[in-house]
């Protein structure tokens, strides 16, 4: 008695992330939608741009229209850190530690001349831009920026979050942490 070899069944593709396209893309859209519309900012306001940020939160410009009104003063609870003001070299380790304490996913908005480039503080103590110590997603020019510029920064950050893939975000966070080093 002989057995005919059974024709082998067509290979079932390995369940991979690429092949589960429909589910994952809709999940991605859902996750990105929830992330971009519930940004909790941490205001790192060290100078006059911080005062301008108060105007952005208040009812005249009302940052809550973009879901970012819940200002948290604990980095553990914040999604986006808004650096508004002059950051000195003595402040830099503090800023870096606060950034490290934030949970992934996290984003950074640098607002104003001092935080983005040092402005006219061309001196021994002021950092020429906070991107020396932490990665920056959105830069806002101005001295201080207008409240609309803050809102435009939030809008552009939302667009950026929309393009992100949440399953890469953890790896992206690790990569971003690895590519920047603390000066002090």
């Amino acid at each position: 008695m002989t057995f005919k070899p059974v024709p082998s069944a067509p290979a079932i593709p390995e369940p991979s992330l690429e092949h589960a396209g429909v589910f994952l893309s809709s999940a991605e859209a859902l996750v990105n939608w929830s992330r971009r519309n519930s940004l909790w900012p941490f205001p790192f306001g060290t100078a006059c741009c911080g005062i301008e940020f108060m105007g952005v939160v208040s009812s005249m410009y009302d940052i809550s229209r973009f879901g970012a009104e819940l200002v948290r003063f604990s980095p553990r609870q914040a999604d986006v850190i808004i650096i508004a003001g002059t950051v000195t070299y003595k402040q830099a380790p503090v800023l870096r530690r606060i950034y490290d304490q934030m949970c992934d996913p996290k984003w950074v908005i640098a607002a104003g001349a001092c935080a983005t480039s040092g402005g006219f503080y061309d001196c021994y103590c002021t950092m020429p831009g906070i991107d020396e110590v932490i990665p920056v997603d959105i830069y806002i020019a101005g001295c201080p920026p207008r409240p609309e510029a803050f809102l435009e920064g939030i809008i552009q950050l939302q667009k950026k979050i929309d393009g992100e893939k949440f399953r890469d975000s953890r790896a992206m966070g690790a990569e971003r942490r690895a590519t920047t080093t603390v000066a002090a």
Binding site: M60, T116, S117, G129, Y139, Q156
Partner: protein
Amino acid sequence: MAKVVPRPELNFWERIYFIEIFKGLATTLGHARKGLTDPAHFPTVNYPEEKPELPRDYRARHRLMKRADGSPRCVACYMCSTACPARCINIVAETSPDRHIEKRPVKFEIDLLLCVFCGYCVEACPCDAIRMDTKLGVMVHDNRADFVIDKTKLMDWDPKDYPVDDLTSQSAPGGARHADALARLQSGSDH
């Protein structure tokens, strides 16, 4: 001698406070109701859809003025970059082919991230070549290189936005006087 301010006499209903508290609450709630129901009292500016109108002399993004032939009015004298406290203006000069003009800028760059929008460049310019009346107050990018704007971008503005019969659009903030602007307009030398 100290001036004695007499305390206001309170009557019985004011002294028991309760009625005054509810009067105050009524004022607050009245404002809250207006802010919620009366469109004339809505305080919020819905930014991307409606933008606040900035005054003409608001110090916004710079623009370079043009001569009648479209060349920049700038003579590359470095007065603005010398006056700039942030040193954000980078000019490279070359000899002008016009024998009445000594120099012209071959490169004129402004780093908007360094700029503190103080307007000193506008005041320093001897030939009213740089103005900050573009009303462009929103400058947001995700990298620093995009903030460095060059000569072509600084000269990319529409004359329709600065009508010649509107003196407020023709006087640089802190710089040219209205009479100067008017004389220039009437002579028709340049825009």
